[in-house]
């Protein structure tokens, strides 16, 4: 009984701020709705039919997947590498750690502004440094053409969020017993072998969870992409959350917007169930 009482506030809040909006989202997606009045008429599954018949949804889904996979991959690789590096004794380690973790702490708005300033075609230091070092002849259009725009947001996304992986991995590294390494060294394992045979298996658990959490977040990311490219050029960097926003508030079509959102959740759900099942199997082994 006490257990139920303790969880009750959580459940109540969930119902209010998540379940109720969720149910109304699914309900709204069956209507053709003008956002400012929320008036509309029932259209059944027409919104979904239009969505799946049109190109824009598929292109946005594709963009979302490209963005999520690429930026997640970079986050994990950079995160693990940086964590291993910061686990070693280097001078001023505390300061180095703070500097590495900092991108995660600055707000997305700040990060985007700073990067847009760096990328600026006329006064941006990035173009200038690359021209000065001979890497470029002309200033590069970082955000306005493809594939540059996608590469840029993937890089900024990786920069912004890899510290999260660093934190989790660093914490786990500290709990790996030294004896494991000593034993491996006695067995004649080199640095690389020690990494693959000792470190990596120990990190597996935490990596699985980190990947899951980050994947969900990256899939839902709105601020960074919206403020960075707004989805352009054309719809080359328009991910599903941006499409939802445009339909809902740009085109005042709340019904279509919620249909996109529901479809988006379905996609995430499929991935998540597959992933959790896989994770369960691994754990059982």
């Amino acid at each position: 009984m006490l257990g139920v009482m303790l969880i009750a506030p959580c459940v109540l809040i969930f119902c209010a701020v998540i379940v109720y909006p969720l149910v109304s989202a699914v309900y709204l997606s069956l209507f053709n709705i003008f956002t400012p009045t929320l008036k509309g008429n029932f259209v059944g599954f027409q919104n979904y039919a239009d969505l799946f018949a049109g190109e824009e949804f598929w292109r946005s889904l594709f963009n979302t997947l490209v963005w999520t996979v690429c930026t997640l991959f970079l986050q994990v690789v950079l995160g693990v590498a940086a964590a291993l590096m910061l686990h070693q004794a280097i001078v001023f380690r505390a300061l180095a750690r703070s500097l590495i973790l900092f991108p995660y702490f600055v707000s997305t708005v700040v990060a985007v502004l700073v990067w847009r300033w760096l990328f600026n075609d006329l006064y941006g230091i990035l173009n200038h440094l690359m021209m000065w070092s001979g890497l470029l002849q002309m200033p590069l259009d970082w955000l306005g053409s493809m594939p540059n725009a996608m590469v840029s947001i993937v890089l900024v996304g990786a920069w912004k969020y890899f510290p999260f992986v660093v934190i989790a991995i660093l914490a786990r590294l500290q709990t790996i017993p030294d004896q494991l390494y000593e034993a491996a060294t006695i067995d004649g394992a080199g640095a690389w072998a020690r990494f693959t045979d000792v470190t990596l298996p120990q990190l597996k658990d935490v990596l699985m969870v980190v990947v899951l959490l980050r994947a969900i977040w990256d899939f839902k990311e709105f601020d960074l992409i919206y403020l960075m490219t707004g989805g352009g050029p054309l719809i080359s960097t328009q991910t599903l959350p941006l499409m939802v926003y445009k339909e809902a508030f740009g085109l005042d079509a709340m019904g279509r917007a919620t249909a996109v959102a529901v479809a988006m959740m379905a996609v995430m759900l499929v991935f998540m169930v597959l992933y959790l099942r896989r994770m369960g199997k691994e754990e059982a082994r």
Binding site: L2, G3, A94, W115, A261
Partner: protein, 272 residues
Amino acid sequence: MKRIAFNLMAWTIVLVTAFPLIWMVITSVKPQFELFRIPPTFWPEEITFEHYRRLLWETPFLLFMRNSLILSFSTTVLVVGVATLGAHSLVRFRYPGRERLAQLVLFTYLLPSVVLILPLYLMMVWLGVANSLLSLVIAYTSFALPYALWLLRSFMQGIPDDLESAALVDGATRMEAFFDVILPQALPGIISTSLFTFILSWNEYLYALVLVNTDSARPLTTGVMSMLVSSFNIEWSLLMAASVMMSVPLIIIFAVLQKYLTRGFGAGGVKG
């Protein structure tokens, strides 16, 4: 020799990662006319703190800062408080539907914020709190609570059962056991969860953009954007100064709590 090479490499990587932030600081002390130099200057030819002065005394920056602090603290306290109880219940008590509930938590996490906005807004109006800091606190729980619950649950799973059993044998009630035994053990986890929750709410943009539009309830993220980026001007120098100052509270909190951040995560190991 090898040590020095490693140190050099490590610090090069650190500096490259931190470069955007270093550049932000450098830009914020350049006079405005120097910003639009082609080619850009690297070190400022002249250092000025004019932008900071203008920001602090001539704009509502401090008001936004106050709002952000209140907002983030309240959200953190509310979310972590509720989530700690909830996580304790999920880990230590047996009742039907417990496992399902834990999975549902993760599911609610999938919902994109964009769709929640309008229903949430209508709810705020109905509650009579629209256009206030409270409405943002409520809205922020929608993404912060699942996350905090999930993190805390994994921390608490790392605390051995026998500790609580021992206390119960000694005659403590379950609530006493919770406060005397579980809480101290879970503290690093609670602190690190609080930190993550704080960061999430400090940095949120979309809800703040739509749900609030009086200056007296506007947090820094949208306040700074709408104040300095408009269709007829982008005040780069003020923006950079604002960015530096927006990061200061986080630097302080981070410096104080850094050791908990990684220790907390290690305690339970983030387990599913």
